[in-house]
């Protein structure tokens, strides 16, 4: 039986083959909550600056938090390491692995060192074993899943694994689980591959006791009221919960928020857009819904099958909004079946969809501008609209296997553009070396600022959702009662730079808390974006730790400052928190939205750093802020390394 106050960590050294179970200091649960928060602390403490991301010094953390295993955890699992680009690489994924790990009596895994041959880790109720995985190496995700299931012959074993892309150290490949769930797209899969760890299998038989069951039940019912499809006051909840996210593609298209043809335009043909939207997907392809552990939404995630045509029999799942938007308009491809197959192939090979889509879009633009020719692309006619479907699908395979032209694209858009040059850097849509996501920036400054300053590279889940909630639900007075000082009417205006820094600061802090409990960040609807009391109550009743609401909020701030401290220690500064070149220099055609030029963006950055208590010049957190958060050791560490920490 687990006590949620004390968390533990299983350290696995793959170089020596030794494992050790340690306790995490009890005070950390109140200070950093768990999951992402504890990972931020561990990363800062244990991964030295300048460590080779693919070397034995880099540590891969996989962990849950104090609320995992209860219905609030939603199966969320955080994976973290130093990314191959030097930033923090932290991502959260759903599924069923998290609760199983906790039930096995382990909260965190720290994978250190490097194995001399492919291995997988088998954990069974605090007992762990490093097993040979040579027969799994090179296998696709679905094959690995089936083989491991057969080998361990227990239907309830849960897995996290990497595909061939992770083994081949493809830029930004994530870690997969339950076939279609993935997390850590900043390269956690590649780091796992560099350690020659193919998979982690876990089975637990323990239970999770909450400290105050009656209180927890009451808090849970209140929480369900706030997030339920029928009861939430947010208009987006039922649409998301039932239709699923892909409906947003059409909504974004009307608002100038669809990056078309590598973001050369921001509007797509309406008919094409209808063809890839959620309705045809639901009617023709969806077979059933498949949720993560204890999710209160009926159908956020679904499984699909293509029943006829050239791709007959192709199955997959978990099509969220971003996938049709990046494989559709970005490549000018209106074939929903092709989108499903491309996304499915990314999942099978263990690739990150954003990396593949943006790199393909970049290569297509290069091809159309004559920068790349058929001689470079192994004879492939790489044009927008994907006329050669088989060719594009084969290219995805080549990226994962690093064959021919695929090897260039496997390095990521940023590095590929640097190698090719000839002006192609100008339309490589990257921030901190990482490809963008689906949400557009020039129509919503919150998004523009959010993806630019994120410590992991563009990651919308760090402040999702990108709007301050329905304006009818919240008043400025309510906000100040919740301890948030900002002007909502200005904050809600998409293209008004005012208040964006403050809103983003609040969103980043609050989402850090939700991800640290952990709970699902996609449930932050209604007024929950500002009002974290339901989660505060759930945390207190589950752990038995009495914590002031303001202290609870400060835990999130601590996490965010630790991430920033890690980032600046690796040498990233204000100059890295910038929008991609195309967004900074080109106006949006047709809609007439202006470019994110320097004066405009600098103003928002200043606001954001100011609100956070970070240096306006360098973005290094200031001494008074770190000391106020009780992070004096961080100040000392930064100063020891000769960094200028402003007072």
């Amino acid at each position: 039986m687990r006590d949620n106050r004390i968390q533990n960590i299983l350290r696995v050294n793959l170089s020596t083959g030794k494992t050790r179970l340690e306790s995490i200091p009890e005070a950390w649960t109140a200070k950093y909550l768990g999951c992402r928060g504890i990972h931020s602390r561990l990363l800062f403490n244990e991964v030295p600056p300048g460590a080779d991301p693919f070397g034995p010094d880099n540590v891969l953390y996989i962990g849950t938090g104090p609320l995992e295993g209860t219905p609030i955890g939603m199966g969320r699992l955080s994976v973290a390491c130093k990314s191959p680009r030097g930033t923090v690489a932290e991502g959260s994924c759903g599924g069923f692995f998290g609760p199983e790990l906790r039930r096995a009596g382990i909260d965190y895994l720290a994978i250190q060192g490097k194995a001399d041959r492919p291995v997988y880790l088998w954990i069974h109720d605090q007992k762990s074993e490093i097993r040979d995985a040579r027969h799994l190496w090179g296998r696709k995700i679905n094959e690995t899943d089936a083989l491991l299931r057969e080998e361990l012959s227990d239907p309830d074993v849960q897995f996290r694994y990497i595909g061939p892309a992770g083994e081949n150290l493809v830029h930004s490949s994530p870690i997969f689980g339950n076939r279609d769930n993935s997390g850590g797209r900043a390269g956690c899969g590649a780091v796992m591959g560099s350690k020659r760890l193919k998979a982690i299998a876990v089975r637990g038989s323990g239970g999770i006791r909450v400290a105050d069951y009656e209180g927890f039940l009451k808090a849970y019912q209140h929480f369900r009221q706030r997030v339920g499809v029928g009861t939430s006051r947010d208009v987006w909840t039922p649409i998301w919960g039932a239709y699923g996210a892909p409906v947003i593609v059409r909504v974004f298209n009307d608002q100038g928020g669809i990056m078309t043809r590598n973001a050369q335009e921001m509007r797509w043909d309406e008919e094409k857009c209808n063809r890839i939207s959620a309705e045809p997907y639901l009617e023709k392809y969806v077979t059933r819904a498949k949720a993560c552990f204890c999710c209160p939404l009926p159908a956020c995630k679904k499984q699909h099958e293509i029943r006829s045509g050239p791709f007959q029999g192709f199955r997959g799942g978990n099509l969220w909004a971003a996938i049709p938007s990046v494989f559709g308009p970005l490549l000018d491809n209106d074939d929903l079946e092709l989108i499903l197959v491309m996304a499915g192939m990314c999942n099978q090979f263990g690739l990150d969809v954003f990396h593949v889509a943006y790199t393909l879009a970049w290569a297509m633009e290069c091809f159309e501008k004559g920068i790349l020719t058929r001689a470079d692309t192994d004879g492939l006619e790489l044009r927008f609209g994907c006329p050669d479907k088989e060719g594009v699908l084969d290219l995805i395979r080549k990226i994962a296997m690093r064959e021919g032209f695929g090897d260039l694209l496997a390095r990521g858009c940023n590095e590929a553009a640097k190698m090719i040059g000839r002006g192609s850097e100008k339309f490589a849509l990257v921030i901190k070396g990482q490809e963008l996501e689906a949400i557009a920036q020039r129509n919503s400054y919150m998004v523009a600022l959010g993806v630019a300053v994120s410590e992991v590279g563009p990651d919308h889940t760090r402040w999702y959702p990108p709007h301050p909630g329905h304006p009818g639900l919240l008043k400025n007075e309510d906000l100040s009662r919740l301890g948030v000082q900002l002007d909502l009417s200005k904050a809600a205006q998409g293209r008004n730079p005012e208040e964006k820094g403050k809103v983003l600061r609040w969103f980043t802090i609050s989402r850090a808390i939700v991800e640290s409990l952990p709970s699902c960040v996609f449930l932050v609807r209604d007024t929950l974006g500002f009002d974290l009391h339901p989660w505060h109550e759930l945390f207190q009743t589950a752990t038995g730790i009495r914590l002031d609401y303001s202290e609870f909020i400060r835990a999130g701030e601590r996490v965010m400052n630790l991430d920033r401290a890690f980032l600046v220690r690796e040498g990233f500064r204000r100059t890295d928190d910038q929008p991609p070149y195309r967004m900074a220099t080109e106006d949006v055609p047709y809609f007439g939205f202006p470019k994110l030029d320097k004066p405009l963006f600098d103003r928002m950055l200043d606001d954001y750093y100011q609100a956070n208590g970070w240096s306006l010049k360098t973005s290094i957190p200031r001494r008074h802020k770190l000391e106020e958060l009780g992070l004096t050791d961080v100040v000392q560490d930064l100063e020891k390394r000769g960094m200028e920490v402003e007072p």
Partner: protein, 134 residues
């Protein structure tokens, strides 16, 4: 006699019913608790978790009144229903009819959500044709 029945096509496999049921007696969330009246059926080679329920519906801890077991109350999809055989049969027929009208009902229970965003009179949840009135 009222029973808890599972409409398998609607189930999204979140395992909330099992997880919650296991906690009602002891306050410990442990799906493997042998006392729990819900077991999960996993299809080989599929990402599916379908509950099998062995319970008379007299819940030891009904959180929403005595006539509704907790697992049925908390089920997010409507896949768990509690009623006599006639009632359950009617729900299944209602679902089949609704599915023919709208793709959404592959994943949602038409009796559970009167959709606020559907305005037309032929509204998705109200199935009149085929003699299956609400």
């Amino acid at each position: 006699m009222k029973r808890i029945q599972v409409i398998e096509d609607l189930c999204n496999g979140c395992r909330l019913c099992q997880t919650f049921c296991s906690s009602l007696r002891t306050g410990v969330f442990n799906p493997d608790d042998p006392q729990t009246g819900i077991r999960i059926l996993k299809m080989p080679g599929e990402e599916q978790d379908i509950p099998l329920v062995q319970c008379n519906g007299v819940c030891i801890r009904p959180i929403a009144g005595d006539d509704q077991p907790t697992c049925v109350e908390l089920c997010p999809t409507g896949a768990l229903v509690y009623g006599n055989l006639d009632w359950v049969q009617a729900r299944r027929l209602e679902l089949e009819a609704a599915r023919k009208m709208h793709g959404l009902f592959k994943v949602l229970a038409p009796w559970k959500w009167p959709f606020p965003w559907v305005k037309s009179k032929k509204g998705a949840g109200r199935v009149e044709e085929g003699g299956i009135a609400r």
